[in-house]
């Protein structure tokens, strides 16, 4: 009697072929994106979304082409923070145009579609059983978004991930080995413990862990013009990945985020400088990854022209702009 693998196809639907086609559409849609960076944590409430948006802003200010996909479908916040809550999705000749912030960052967020008073709901034939299918549905939705929107030529596409260590790994599986991860924690042992689980889980897969950012690393007191401690937990959990920087909490930053205002005016504050520092570290890390990959490819295939290496460098889309050549100052580290 024939067994499963003796039979070609499934007799009509071609489900596996459809899944493969979905993956091809996603790959094709992202073909012009140089770096895929997922910003995750495992822990909720550590500032992943805020950091994602402001790192994107810092990178955009250097002339890089950046977009954000708010992958937190159930708790989207990028639409509000980026000021694209009222965006209209306009169809192009083949795909859907991506809403953009005033400074040119492309943003997809469910928050552009769903009022904050509403939750994302899916119709279902299996009421009360959403735990059996909901994650699958959300990833199918993510695939449809990746395949249907005009991502175009980007230096970075940043994914703002939802909380949950297991979700972080699921996104790594779905997005594939091209995607590098940046993790966010806060100086709390509880948070670091959860992030350590994400590090352990991600370390088992092929995705590159760029490092972590310690957010809310003290708070910036404008009256004192100083950074003061916010958490007093002793740091005993070693995350075993590079720290790309620390970012203090600034109530003014939170206020601007709620109102969807550009952070250019914060650029000269300790928070702005810290974000610039992290952005530089992120770029350095991505460059080293790219260079190492290109070098490895060169070693494996010595017949390949050396120019392939140079073509992978991040380049601003506004050559000669002031932003592109601006010197970056190191962020102010919170003294411990």
């Amino acid at each position: 009697m024939k067994r499963y693998h003796d039979i070609v196809g499934d007799g009509g639907s071609g489900v596996l072929e459809q899944v493969a086609e979905q993956r091809t559409r996603i790959t094709d849609g992202l073909a012009g994106v140089r770096h895929l960076v997922a910003v995750g944590s495992g822990k909720g409430g550590v500032g992943k979304s805020t950091l994602t948006l402001h790192l994107a802003g810092a990178l955009r200010a250097r002339g890089l082409r950046v977009a954000i996909l708010d992958a937190d479908f159930n708790g989207p916040s990028q639409a509000r923070m980026a000021g694209v809550q009222g965006a209209v999705f306009v169809p192009g000749d083949h795909k859907v145009a991506l809403p953009r912030t005033r400074n040119g960052i492309g943003v997809f967020s469910m928050g552009s579609m769903i009022p904050e008073s509403e939750a994302l709901e899916f119709e279902s034939t299996a009421d009360g059983e959403s735990h059996t299918w909901r994650a699958t549905k959300e990833f199918a939705l993510l695939g449809e978004i990746l395949a249907s929107f005009e991502w175009g030529a980007l230096d970075l596409l940043m994914f703002d991930l939802p909380p949950g260590a297991e979700r972080t790994v699921q996104y790594a599986d779905f997005l594939g080995p091209r995607t590098s991860f940046l993790l966010v924690t806060i100086p709390s042992e509880v948070a670091r413990g959860v992030v350590a689980r994400s590090v352990a889980a991600l370390s088992k897969g092929p995705n590159r862990l760029l490092g972590y950012v310690e957010n809310m690393s003290g708070y910036y007191c404008r009256d004192c013009n100083a950074i003061k401690p916010l958490f007093v937990s002793p740091e005993t959990t070693n995350l075993e990945i590079p720290c790309l920087g620390t970012v203090p909490f600034d109530p003014e930053l939170a206020r601007l985020c709620d109102r969807g205002i550009d952070l250019a005016e914060l650029r000269e504050t300790p928070v702005g400088r810290a974000l610039e520092h992290v952005a530089q570290q992120l770029l350095d890390s991505l460059e080293s990854t790219t260079s190492a990959s290109a070098h490895a490819a060169q070693e494996l295939r010595p017949d390949r022209p050396a120019s392939a290496h140079g073509s992978s460098e991040l380049r601003p889309d506004r050559p000669g702009s002031a932003h592109a050549s601006r010197e970056v100052r190191a962020g102010r580290e919170h003294p411990r």
Binding site: G9, G11, G14, V96, R100, T125
Partner: protein, 164 residues
């Protein structure tokens, strides 16, 4: 999932997908050797799990296979699930744009806006879950400019206006 006719040791071929009913699909297979037919009947949980994958169950009519049921007759390339299960759409922004024109301080129904065939074709590029919202937003954009028809020029203008 594959089905095998044991007496013939032959893979069965999908023949038809019955109209979805009560969360269940009826998918008919037959053996190309002996003609024996059988039906796979899904329960609501099985239906939902497969639907969540975003795949089409049933023959691709565009490829020449046959199907039954009003679903596939009306929209030949779509999965029967599509008619049975509305796409993932935020309820307040569902098809029909019922929230459009019903804002506080405004009275009456919104003025109907036509879509040219070319504009509709472009709208088809929008994923189903976004389409109702995209339609509503573009129609509002058109009305605000005194246009009662959405054509490609309006779409291009909207694209420009929203900074895309």
């Amino acid at each position: 999932m594959k089905f095998l006719c044991i007496p013939c040791d032959s893979p069965m071929k999908l023949q038809a997908v019955g109209p979805p009913e009560g969360g269940s699909l009826s998918v008919v297979y037959s053996c190309p050797e002996c003609g024996y037919e059988m039906a796979m009947l899904t329960n609501a949980y099985e239906t939902q799990i497969v639907q969540s994958l975003g795949v089409r169950i049933g023959p691709d009519i565009g490829a020449g296979a046959s199907s039954t049921g009003s679903t596939s007759a009306a929209e030949p390339t779509k999965c029967p699930f599509s008619a049975m299960l509305p796409p993932a759409t935020p309820k307040p922004l569902g098809e029909g744009g019922e929230t459009e024109g019903a804002r506080p301080g405004q009275a009456g129904e919104p003025i109907p806006v036509r879509w040219t065939a070319a504009a509709e074709a472009r709208l088809a590029n929008v994923p189903e879950f976004v389409r109702p919202m995209a339609r509503t937003g573009i129609e509002r954009f058109a009305r605000e400019r005194g246009a009662l028809e959405v054509d490609e020029k309006i779409l291009d203008a909207a694209r420009e206006f929203f900074g895309m």
